[in-house]
């Protein structure tokens, strides 16, 4: 895992980088391998979990997904990686990174196993005030349950019982995810995935999420700000390592210097970079221009998603009961979105450019779901010409986790 969850390639760990088990190397652990110059990243930050599942060490692994940290490694290691709706799974016990973005996710080789684990974990928890209450869960259930046109979507073991099991389901292809950085393999699998869903009975339409291009800067502004706040507690006083060096000054009123040595020694360079950037965007002079603006963009992105989904966002309904006939009559809007998980397959480790910020562009496909709190899942669909896995991503409306996983199970079954 990247230190404190901060990284997309599993490079920033004091224990060394994790290998991607999918790469075509002759032996693992043999002496030949140590001289092997080409080592692929498993993705990050939960790359260890993805590698463990992909190599068969375990059946299910957990990760935390703040900006794609479960879905990205899942795609690069060829396994399923699911980020539930924000608030489905309690964050109590998760070392906080971006509190309003963090979600505990599940990885497994099949959607079936992911769903089983998710149902065990998806319970209310009074220790986490942002965890959905039982009341909200029941409301969402009665809401999604009242939806006529998806009632037939058979989940049971993902196998197709009907010839067109997803008949009537509408899938949206958001055009803003067609970015320049998309590799050929990502594009190909995107098209192929859409075709397979169509074969299963889905209606495929193009949709627009106009503020998506602003999601990456908004995400990093908010994530770094929240993480600079959540990591302020690591000062070595109550737990953790403490620097042996004495503080520089002895001025009593300004205590930050007391922690500076400990934090400089104890936090890795990428973590420090993010904390400093996050601190900056919250300063009085910069806050309006960066932090407040990022929050506004976030709200617009949430509204973009609300405008394309058929199911209204239960959070926007403000205490009203689930609408009856309105939801029963097939409204405009899609039931899920389909787009790539990553712009390309797993890169080589050590190819991090001089400017680490260029590595952040990997997250462009994954951060919007964190910003809006909606559920998203990466499904392994293909292998590219170098033999590395390609993942395809499905996302659904806030709270619509079960339908999302049903569609994902069907999609995965098409590629097995």
């Amino acid at each position: 895992m990247d230190e404190f969850g901060m990284g997309s390639k599993n490079e920033f760990s004091i224990y060394g980088a994790t290998r991607n088990p999918c790469e075509q190397t002759p032996e693992v652990g043999g002496s030949k391998e140590r001289h092997q110059p080409h080592r692929h990243s498993p993705g990050g930050s939960s790359g260890g979990s993805a590698a463990a599942v992909a190599s068969g060490m375990c059946r299910i692994a957990l990760g935390s997904d703040t900006g794609g940290s479960v879905r990205l490694p899942a795609a690069w290691c060829g396994v399923v990686g699911f980020k539930p709706t924000y608030g489905r799974v309690s964050r109590h016990g998760l070392a906080a990174y971006g509190s309003s973005l963090d979600a505990i996710g599940v990885m497994a080789r099949s959607v079936c196993d992911v769903r089983a684990a998710f149902h065990v974990m998806s319970v209310s928890d009074p220790r986490d005030m942002t965890c959905m209450s039982s009341k909200l869960r029941r409301r969402i259930e009665s809401f999604t349950g009242s939806r006529e046109w998806t009632k037939h979507v058979d989940w049971e073991n993902g196998a197709t019982k009907a010839s067109k099991p997803l008949d009537g389901v509408r899938i949206g292809i958001p055009k803003e995810f067609w970015v320049d950085e998309l590799s050929l393999s990502a594009l190909e699998s995107w098209k192929s995935g859409a075709q397979r869903l169509a074969d299963l009975g889905c209606e495929i339409v193009q949709v627009s999420l106009p503020h998506i291009p602003s999601s990456l800067p908004a995400y990093y502004t908010l994530a770094f700000a929240e993480s600079s706040s959540n990591l302020a507690r690591y000062d070595g006083i109550r737990y953790g390592t403490r620097s042996n060096q004495l503080p520089a000054k002895s001025n009593g009123s300004n205590a930050s210097y007391k922690y500076a040595n400990t934090r400089s020694e104890g936090l890795g360079s990428e973590v420090q970079r993010r904390i400093l950037l996050g601190t900056y965007v919250m300063t009085a002079s910069a806050s309006e221009q960066y932090h407040v603006l990022a929050q506004k963009i976030r709200r617009l992105i949430q509204k973009d998603f609300d405008s394309v989904f058929a199911l209204p966002n239960v959070l926007a309904l403000d205490g009203a009961d689930p609408p009856g006939p309105a939801v029963a009559d097939r409204p405009k809007g899609v039931d899920a979105l389909l787009f790539p998980t990553a712009t390309d397959t797993a890169p080589l480790l050590g190819t991090l450019a001089q400017n680490p910020v260029t590595g952040y562009v990997n997250d462009i496909m994954t951060v919007p779901a964190n910003l809006a709190g909606i559920p998203a899942v990466s499904v392994p669909v293909d292998i590219d010409s170098t033999g590395m896995p390609v993942g395809l991503q499905l996302a659904a409306q806030f709270g619509d986790d079960d339908l999302l996983l049903s569609i994902a199970a069907h999609l995965q079954s098409q590629f097995v």
């Binding site: 964050r91 109590h92 016990g93 998760l94 070392a95 906080a96 509190s99 309003s100 009074p126 220790r127 986490d128 005030m129 942002t130 700000a225 929240e226 706040s229 302020a232 507690r233 000062d235 006083i237 109550r238 737990y239 001025n251 009123s253 300004n254 205590a255 930050s256 007391k258 922690y259 601190t279 919250m282 300063t283 009085a284 806050s287 932090h291």
Partner: protein
């Protein structure tokens, strides 16, 4: 948990900032805050939210304090000062806002030289901060305002408001202005760690003097945070403006917004006990007692109920006299509050009846009272 428990014996995971821990809002605190706001004639906000205020300090385990900067739970209200407080004029001190926030840990200096010790017992405990408008114009008004606030908040069971125990703390902002200038044109200095009414009076006086002297000698007043040295009668610098931190406020992501309904607020209002000023007028009128006597009764939480229960069908003056001299004398001797004593109105009633019918002498009655207050329940 008590305020004087041994250090670091009442620590929750979230108060120590253990990774993975999350804060929780105590609903009882919201209720207490609502009582305080309504008792002060303020408006309980139906929607309020929390923010993080960031700064590094040894008494701030998480590196931030959870507070309500943008959207506090209460706005408005007032404390009226006048003849009842010994002033020969009347004045309202308006309240700007009331907010819920977390307490810090306690830093202990001067125990191990060169070290600051941190006691996390009170870290994370909810505080209610009451911010006044700049209506206070003399040191005396400042002290009277605080004292009246204490009486009121004790009466409606918001807090013990005990400055020695730390259940009430007070910071005062002071600025001066020439008559020809605008009232709020002076630079403000904040006086912190004022732990008694006497100290408040002294500190404010000293600071006014200092600021006037500074201006009259041609220098500007610098914006500073200052403390008060009671022995020297002077204020001293704790922190200057250069060291003032940028708090980098951010909405608190772990605590959702508070939404209160009109019904809930109304229920809180109905549950309020009779406010002191109303009770003062009514009891004087209803029982024919002097203002001083009624004030003495009102000043002790729980005493009004004891008095009224006992006075029913009995001579009010006798009952009042027994309470204010004998009962209060015993409480003082035991360093006890009435709310913590064993004495019941039934016992006191019986005692006074027995005196009336001369079945006991005055001396015997006093002995009986002592026995009751020791917890013995003979008849």
């Amino acid at each position: 948990a008590k305020w004087d428990d041994p250090p670091n014996t009442n620590v929750a995971l979230a108060d120590a900032g253990i990774p993975g821990s999350l804060p929780r809002l105590n609903p009882e605190c919201v209720g207490i805050a609502a009582r305080a706001i309504l008792g002060l004639n303020g408006k309980v906000q139906k929607q309020s939210s929390f923010d993080r205020k960031h700064y590094f300090y040894s008494d701030q385990p998480l590196g931030f304090q959870i507070t309500q900067q943008r959207s506090p739970i209460g706005r408005g209200g007032k404390v009226s000062l006048g003849h009842n407080e010994g002033l020969d004029y009347t004045k309202d001190i308006r309240i700007h806002q009331l907010q819920l926030e977390q307490d810090t840990a306690k830093s202990v200096h001067d125990v191990y030289p060169g070290y600051v010790l941190t006691d996390l017992n009170r870290a994370g405990v909810a505080l209610l901060e009451i911010v006044s408008e700049p209506d206070i114009e003399t040191p005396e008004e400042a002290a009277l305002y605080v004292r009246k606030m204490q009486t009121l908040l004790r009466h409606i069971r918001v807090s013990h408001c005990n400055m020695e125990e730390g259940s009430m703390r007070c910071d005062v902002n002071v600025s001066v202005y020439r008559n020809s200038d605008h009232r709020l044109s002076g630079t403000r200095c904040e006086l912190k760690n004022l732990n008694s009414l006497k100290v408040i009076r002294g500190a404010v006086s000293a600071e006014i003097r200092r600021q006037i002297e500074t201006i009259e000698s041609g220098n500007p007043v610098e914006q500073e945070t200052r403390g008060f040295d009671a022995r020297q009668g002077k204020t001293f610098v704790i922190r200057s403006k250069e060291d003032a931190p940028d708090y980098r406020y951010m909405p608190e992501p772990d605590i959702p917004e508070i939404h209160l309904t009109d019904e809930w607020i109304e229920a809180a209002r109905l549950a309020l006990p009779e406010l002191p000023e109303v009770a003062l007028a009514r009891i004087q009128e209803q029982y024919g007692l002097s203002k001083e006597t009624v004030e003495t009764i009102l000043a002790e939480p729980g005493c009004v109920d004891l008095f009224e229960d006992t006075a029913r069908g009995r001579n009010a003056k006798t009952v009042a006299s027994w309470i204010t001299s004998e009962v209060f004398g015993q409480l003082s001797y035991r360093a006890q509050r009435l709310q913590d004593s064993m004495l019941t109105s039934g016992q006191l009633s019986g005692l006074i009846d027995a005196l009336e019918t001369k079945s006991v002498t005055s001396a015997q009655a006093k002995k009986l009272l002592i026995a009751y207050m020791n917890g013995e329940t003979q008849s």
